[in-house]
């Protein structure tokens, strides 16, 4: 008889319903044990002890560890990683003259490899202001190239920031949080723990209190940003950190801050500091 398959179906439907309830099923809790090695040579740190400033979490994990095997495999080879076509496009942009000064990125910086390590220290404070990689690119464009600023999460900017961040792939995130950076970091931390929106959720409610649990059918990560800019299967393009923050805020029915706003820049610094020691994965692949 076909009773057995039906019983199984019921059981899995029940498991599914339980999973919807934002509570841990023992089978789904936590990150998996997979190890990320890219192109069979580059070992990526996806798990390490939480930085000293972090009270609520002992071990930090890359978002890669929360994804399915199929999604994980997309990041294990640069010819499987769909983000790399956009990194290639950015390499062309790197050589392309734009603006009144007749310059390309390459005119001053020559090889993009010169930016190896840059991503690990961003955002950082320059002349009293917190700057992100996006700010640095647009500063070059408007002040030195005489070109128009690129849109924060536009195709060109997300590809270019992916290319520059990619130069640091495999290096540990290491942003400054004291000195000049302290007030920005404090603001970011405050935002991280402040409940907002109709659902009255703070970043911490999902990504600190409930990582590893299911939110509907999705496996919650710690919300680390060491893989950004990251390719998402959801929209099949490179996503920026601020674009992702915006999406999160919309999902909890809050009015998002603007991309490039002081709030999101401070939040970016704070969230980056929660991932100190994880390898830069840019461009990562997530669902």
């Amino acid at each position: 008889m076909n009773m057995k398959p039906i019983a199984q179906t019921r059981a899995s439907a029940l498991a599914f319903a339980a999973a919807l309830a934002f509570a841990a099923g023992p089978a789904v809790a936590g990150a998996d044990d997979d190890q990320l090695i890219i192109n069979e040579e580059l070992e990526i740190v996806t798990e390490t002890a939480a930085p000293a400033h972090l009270d609520g979490v002992d071990v930090i994990y890359s978002g890669w560890r929360f994804r399915s095997d199929e999604t994980q495999s997309l990041q294990m080879d640069d010819f499987d990683n769909p983000a790399m076509v956009f990194v290639d496009q950015a390499l062309e942009l790197w050589e392309t003259v734009d603006g009144s000064e007749g310059k390309a990125c390459a005119s001053c910086h020559e090889d993009v490899a010169a930016f190896k390590g840059l991503k690990t220290s961003l955002p950082r404070v320059e002349n009293g202001e917190l700057v992100t990689l996006t700010d640095l690119v647009n500063e070059c464009r408007t002040e030195r190239m005489g070109a128009e600023a690129w849109k924060y999460s536009g195709g060109q900017m997300s590809a270019m920031t992916a290319l520059i961040a990619h130069q640091s792939r495999g290096m540990a995130m290491n942003v400054s949080i004291d000195g000049d950076a302290a007030p920005f970091w404090e603001l970011g931390k405050e935002l991280y723990y402040t409940r907002v929106g109709q659902l009255q959720l703070a970043c911490a409610n999902c990504h600190e209190d409930n990582y590893g649990n299911m939110i509907r059918a999705d496996h919650l990560s710690q919300g680390q940003i060491n893989g950004f800019p990251t390719y998402r299967l959801k929209n099949a393009k490179i996503n920026t950190v601020h674009g992702r923050f915006k999406g999160c805020m919309s999902n909890i029915r809050a009015v998002p801050f603007a991309e490039g706003s002081p709030e999101f820049e401070a939040l970016e610094l704070y969230v980056a500091s929660r991932g100190q020691g994880l390898s830069v994965e840019s461009p990562a692949v997530r669902n």
Binding site: D77, M84, V85, D88
Partner: protein
């Protein structure tokens, strides 16, 4: 879709004669399915790459008829026999008549 379409192809630089090698190809393309609507409720017209062909020294390796169910930024992985040194040619055919091409040479040792 003519602008910004970019192929990316992985072919080993060399092989031994008669060896079977693995090839991966990826191309940036929205693959607009024709099933979606814009914010005004109008159907966004289909615009996809409808065919992909890989050949080596003029002989076909694989010829794929592609439908709108192929994901954005189409990816293919397949195997090819390399009887002698030569050149792989990869060709993608767009609904709009554009043709995108990538070539990779392989040495035989």
């Amino acid at each position: 879709m003519a602008s910004g379409v970019k192929p990316r192809v992985k072919v080993p630089k060399s092989a031994s004669a008669g060896e079977t090698i693995t090839i991966k190809t990826l191309i940036s393309h929205t693959m607009e399915s024709g099933q979606r609507k814009d914010s005004d409720g109008n159907v966004i017209p289909r615009s996809i790459i409808n065919r992909f062909v890989a050949s080596f020294n003029g002989e076909t390796v694989i010829d794929v008829k592609m439908e709108p169910a192929i994901s954005t930024n189409p990816f293919f992985e397949f195997e090819a026999k390399v009887p002698e040194a030569g050149e792989f040619v990869f060709t993608w055919y767009d609904d709009d008549g554009d043709v995108y091409e990538a070539k990779k040479s392989i040495a035989v040792n």
